[in-house]
Amino acid sequence: MADKKNKSAVPVYLLTGVFLLILCIAFCIAVLIKPYETAQTYLNIIFMDQSMKIAPSSGLDGLVIKENQIETTPVSDIPENEQNFYDEGEIIRPVFGEQYAVLKCDAISLSVPVYWGSSAELLERGACQSSSSVVVGEHGNSVIDAHVNTFFADLNQLKAGDDIIIYTNYGIFTYQVSEKIQFLNTDKKYVLPSVDDRLTLYTCEAQVLGTSDSRIGAVCTLVSRQFYHPAGEGNES
């Protein structure tokens, strides 16, 4: 009889356990759901592997940095039947903080994104083009600079005749180093607008004692302009 009584109690024991478990889980969910919702955003930020994460305290408030995928296949690697380039074409004007080009120079193994506009945050990410100079592809002087301790560390190794290629979403522009330059930071003659089509690259001169007032770089003359679309046709890319 005792055995029978014990058997009848088994479902009660089991159900009590299940009931308690459900009750505890429900209680945990009820108590933790609100704090979790509050913390979720922060958790997603902290535990999300984003290579281009912008820290809130990095001083980027108000600056919108836009990255673009830019095709950097050399012209020589493009099949001949696809080489439909034009000497004059449509230019896509970038906005401040937008990466609009990739600058490459095989002679010094350089490949660096170029941002439109110049600021400390942009200089951390790549080379910057002064917005007072002309967009690559337009007629005049395009002035690009970067930090000597990062992207332009080997700029002083450029030699006359080295090719510099700038890839954009609207065309490929090839320049050749014509002159190595050195000037004081107060001297504006290399960064002023020019009549000829040129590219001016510069950086600080590396110096052990103190910050350098001297700038070094290169002036490059335009060799070719290869637009993807002719002028007036528009550019969908």
Binding site: N6, T16, L20, L21, C28, K53, Q207, L209
Partner: protein, 296 residues
Amino acid sequence: MTNIRLYFPKIILTFLLIFLLTGTELSLLIQHNALTYKAFETVTVQQNLDEKAYTALESYFQSRSNSTGIPADVYLDAVTQEDMKQGILSSISKAFAYLQHDDESYAVTMDFTELEKSVTEFFNQYAEENHYQKDEIFNQKVQSSIQEAEEKILYTADTFKFGTIAEHGWLAKIRSFLDIFRKIMTGLYICTGVVLILLILCCKNKFSELFYWLGLTGIISGLLISSPCLYLLKTDYFSAFVVKDIQIYAAVTGYLNYITHLISTAFIITGLAGIVFLLLFSVMQKITNQKQTTAE
């Protein structure tokens, strides 16, 4: 469950006991295993933080040499991997000395005698070779280079970011919280004891049932905590941590994995203890039934 009158009080007491036991166990783990110098030292060794910190330092000074013109060896010859290890351990011990009220402020220092000598020698040699007059600017440059290097080394050695935490005033807040936490722990122990006594009193007519309720407490408490911990470990959740400074990444993820592993192990043991209690209960029930059958 002979007495239905006591059934619901037992459920309520067990429900309370589950959370009190969980809280007590977690607080004990945090106080005696997770928030200790030993835990951080273990992570330092497990994750080879000294090696990672030294590699980060090498990379920094090599990259800096492009802009400063000071060869990386000037710094790296004066700082060893062992120095970095001592720096890391020193930052941990200083943090705990502060948290435990042994020190009234958090400040880490390292022996930079060799570094100062090396940098000074380099600048003197540079000045002689370039016929540079050693004036006030020269001395300032030497001092600023030494200071910058020392700050960088201390920053790199602070893999657990105690310096940053202290700088923002959070270490002081953690210290105050730990003081309150100890009082909360005492309260938790008392509450757990009271609830346990009440449960024993409820089960005094059928003592074997106490094992049933304790078994349920252990199993549910174990499930509640070990399940999410195992999920975090299985999905390698912490590896998605965003910081890419290799030594900080290894320190933070290593520590988070260490405490998650510790907590999951402890609560799996709690769950197993609960199963043992339930088995004991069923054995005791069987023995009681047999005795009753024999008596009848």
